[in-house]
């Protein structure tokens, strides 16, 4: 078993109302100095066997077809160590 993590983030030029709401709340809680917040999604995929190049290619395909919408989001794929 291997764990592959897909992070999906709104593209920089796309308005992120969720991030904006969080950004607005931080100073109200006394947290200052944060100049911007963007909110994304993290998918943890447990896959059979090793995280081979084939597996990663298939995960990238999943990321492009379902996990992200390339019109508004970017994604990145990485293998997470068990430690």
């Amino acid at each position: 078993m291997a764990r592959v993590v897909v992070d999906v983030m709104p593209k920089p030029e796309i308005l992120d109302p969720q991030g904006k709401a969080v950004h607005g709340a931080l100073p109200r809680l006394g947290f200052t100095g944060v100049t911007d917040v963007r909110q994304g999604k993290r998918f943890e995929l447990e896959v059979e066997g090793e995280a081979s190049e084939d597996v990663l290619a298939s995960v990238r395909e999943m990321a492009e077809t379902l996990l992200s919408n390339p019109v508004i989001e970017n994604y990145s794929v990485r293998v997470e160590d068990d430690a």
Partner: protein
């Protein structure tokens, strides 16, 4: 004409859409998201609601339902398809329409009577309207902000593919006040406000939405 109305798990406005189809003078044919068959309909409506719970992104999971494979294929052959609200989101996720719909810029759900201008009456869904007609229909959405990159927006404007535009206040931050768009061929239309809720005096703000359902006449898109 036989107009199919797809019910997805989580569709809310399928019954209203069927009713609007009938008031518009057509037969409403209920279609199920798990169907592999469009039952020989002459047009399809994807209604509003929260298909598949809108988990992941609005319309993202519905786009892979069995019936959508048929809809995408038929749309490619010219079948008229109207997506309203969640249906618009499904059409964008299906790549039948460009762009995407994101959370409203003010972050609130909005529900109100909305003024619109019909910018393109050369689609099978808008031919009953005069070009430039100003109408008022219900709008209700939380993720109705239409976005696309600048070249896409310029192309939509240049090719007359903006079907409807918000008048007065922009309710959700949609770029260039876009309320609805059509595909290159003009048979697929996505619209964020709800014409199916404005087809009877008794229950709506008026009957300004009826045109979307009376526009389907054979010679409008022959």
């Amino acid at each position: 004409m036989r107009v199919g109305v797809v019910t997805f798990p989580g569709s809310l406005d399928d019954a209203d859409a069927q009713r609007a189809v009938r008031i518009g003078g057509h037969d409403a044919v209920p279609l199920w998201h798990g169907d592999h068959d469009l039952r020989q309909v002459d047009a399809v409506v994807l209604p509003g609601g929260f298909s598949y719970g809108d988990y992941l992104r609005c319309g993202a999971i519905s786009r892979f339902s069995p019936v959508m494979a048929e809809v995408v294929e038929a749309a490619g052959r010219g079948l008229p398809v109207l997506g309203i609200c969640n249906g618009f989101q499904i059409l964008c996720e299906s790549h039948l329409l460009p762009g995407a719909l994101i959370r409203n810029d003010h972050r609130k759900f909005v529900c109100r009577d909305q003024r619109l201008r019909i910018e393109n009456n050369r689609t099978p869904w808008t031919s009953s309207y005069a070009e430039g007609a100003e109408i008022t229909i219900v709008l209700k959405n939380g993720e109705g902000g239409y976005v696309a990159d600048q070249p896409t927006l310029d192309r939509l404007e240049g090719e007359g593919r903006v079907v409807a535009r918000y008048l007065d206040d922009n309710p959700n931050g949609s770029l260039r006040d876009i309320a609805g768009v059509t595909n290159e061929r003009g048979n697929v239309v996505g619209l964020m406000p709800h014409p199916e809720h404005a087809v009877e005096e008794l229950t709506g703000s008026g009957v300004d939405g009826l045109g979307f359902f009376t526009s389907l006449v054979v010679d409008a898109f022959a």
